[in-house]
């Protein structure tokens, strides 16, 4: 019973803050709202008996990535901006596309989502996740690392070109 209460409370928190990310004019408030939403999502993982994933969710997304986002937003010192929509057609297509995606997602989830837990003990501790990652999912894992490496090389190239020009 108490699990339901916790679930619905944090589900509401996650949705409300996610909406705030999209709707709020101020980018700093948006970033902080996204942190709150991530934290509520981590509570969902705890409810699913995956505290390892919950901790990783907070460390990686709320703790590292969003701090970087905030750093960039604050460094650019964005003021409140209110731009008039200049391209009405594109704006309409954007709304229509995201609405279609949302409806499709709800439809798919209500039709195909698994409502019952699979039988047997559910283990998602560090050891199990690590072994699965390095045995069954080694290929996607390596692909992701190559993608990240490419991003790092790209960032180095972008930041390195400017210093060459200066010297």
């Amino acid at each position: 019973m108490i699990e339901y209460a916790v679930f619905f409370f944090f589900a509401a928190v996650a949705v409300i803050f996610a909406l705030m990310v999209v709707l709020h004019r101020n980018p700093v408030v948006g970033a902080l709202a996204l942190v709150a939403s991530f934290f509520a999502l981590a509570v969902m993982y705890v409810l699913l008996e995956a505290p390892f994933l919950a901790a990783l969710q907070v460390i990686v997304y709320a703790g590292a990535i969003m701090v970087l986002f905030l750093f960039v937003i604050m460094l650019l010192n964005l003021q409140k901006q209110r731009e008039e929509p200049t391209r009405p057609l594109q704006q309409f297509l954007g709304y229509a596309g995201s609405a279609a995606f949302g409806i499709g997602l709800v439809y798919y989830l209500s039709k195909y989502a698994v409502m019952e837990l699979p039988a047997g003990p559910f283990i998602a501790d560090a050891r199990t996740v690590g072994i699965r990652l390095f045995e069954a999912y080694i290929f996607p894992f390596e692909m992701v690392s190559i993608l990240l490496l490419a991003a790092i090389v790209g960032a180095l190239l972008l930041s390195g070109v400017r210093t060459e020009e200066r010297t």
Partner: protein, 353 residues
């Protein structure tokens, strides 16, 4: 989970929270007297014996100060920011074991830890990584350029040093083979035997593969808690008072508290990971109340010693330059932490530790 369990759990929470909340006044006194000692001054010595009640007087003063919100500030975030800073600092201690478990008369085992979760260390890092938001939010919502600079510096510094902090902790976890902090402590209760005669306690700091990560972890802990020589978020010589320039009254006091509580938590973490936790060297604590009490005192002594080191270093080493901070973090400590992981892995593979 019956009524006794709930009562015991409430008792543990009360002990831990009581200890943590009392850290601030005591540490403020230690800091002021310690700095006076180092600088050949007297320090606060008027209120109570040795000036011990000075902190209480200060706390009372904070309550009576006017609580100012700057006109251009973002009122909501400005109010939330101090709480954002304090809550992670207070909750982190929940997964740190602070004494040897003992058997109660009813046969129940009393584990002196609030929450013995199997991802203990990750919970600590998750909460520690959230603590930066208090500083960043405070810096931004004050609508003051010095505050903003403080917040920006804090976010860059914390990201940089969190990496080496985490990587240094990983080596301790590799040795213990578990993310659970009680396992890390139990692993350190044995002995290293040198030349078949000298018995050294099996604390990680004394292990041949681990002292490097102890150094990396301790220095990164100083940077994570924003203490001198790494307190660039405040840097009173450059940024007035950094992120809390605009804060007054109890809002400022909350920042003050979270700084000292974060220091205490970091000391507890260093103790647990590297200094054997509650282990008393060359003594086998019995699983009784006496053993628990002695081990808890040992834990307290180690944490107090580390807290004193925090004060000692603050008044000995001047603040670095910001570019040096960044260079040292990324080009010295991060590679050292990586090298250390490989070293520990090699030791474990050869079954030397």
């Amino acid at each position: 989970m019956d009524r006794t369990d709930v009562a015991l759990e409430a008792l543990k929470i009360a002990i831990v929270l009581g200890a943590l909340l009392n850290v601030t006044p005591i540490m403020v006194w230690v800091e002021r007297r310690g700095s006076a000692m180092i600088q050949d001054r007297l320090g606060p010595n008027r209120v109570g014996p040795f000036g011990l009640f000075q902190s209480l007087a200060d706390a009372a003063k904070f309550f009576f100060k006017e609580d100012i919100v700057p006109a251009g500030a973002n009122r909501w975030l400005y109010t939330i920011a101090p709480m954002f800073g304090l809550i992670p600092a207070l909750t982190t201690i929940a997964v740190v074991p602070w004494g040897r478990p003992f058997v109660l008369r009813s046969g129940r085992v009393f584990e002196p830890i609030v929450a013995d979760v199997n991802v203990g260390i990750l919970v600590i890092f998750a909460l520690a990584s959230l603590s930066v938001y208090g500083i960043v939010t405070a810096g931004w919502s004050s609508n003051n350029k010095y505050s903003l600079f403080g917040g920006i510096r804090a976010s860059a510094q914390m990201i940089s040093y969190e990496l080496s902090l985490t990587l240094a902790a990983i080596s301790a976890l590799m040795v213990a083979g578990s993310l659970r902090l009680t396992d890390v402590v139990w692993k350190q209760t044995g002995y290293f035997v040198l030349f078949g005669t000298i018995k050294l306690p099996a604390w990680n700091v004394l292990s041949p593969a681990m002292w490097l990560s102890f150094i990396v972890f301790t220095v990164s802990a100083f940077a994570e808690t924003n203490r001198l020589p790494f307190d660039f978020a405040e840097a009173e010589a450059e940024l007035v008072a950094g992120y809390h320039t605009e804060y007054s009254s109890m809002k400022f006091a909350l920042f003050f508290m979270s700084e000292y509580i974060a220091m205490a938590t970091m000391s507890a973490l260093i103790t647990t990971l590297f200094l054997g936790g509650w282990d008393i060297p060359w003594y086998n604590e019995p699983p009784t109340f006496v053993g628990f009490l002695l081990s808890a005192i040992a834990f307290l002594v180690k944490v107090s010693f580390l807290l004193f080191i925090f004060v000692w270093i603050r008044w000995t080493i001047p603040r670095l330059k910001y570019d040096i901070l960044m260079r040292v973090g990324w080009k010295v400590f991060l590679p050292l932490a990586f090298v250390n992981i490989v070293l520990v892995a090699f030791f474990i593979a050869r079954r030397w530790i």
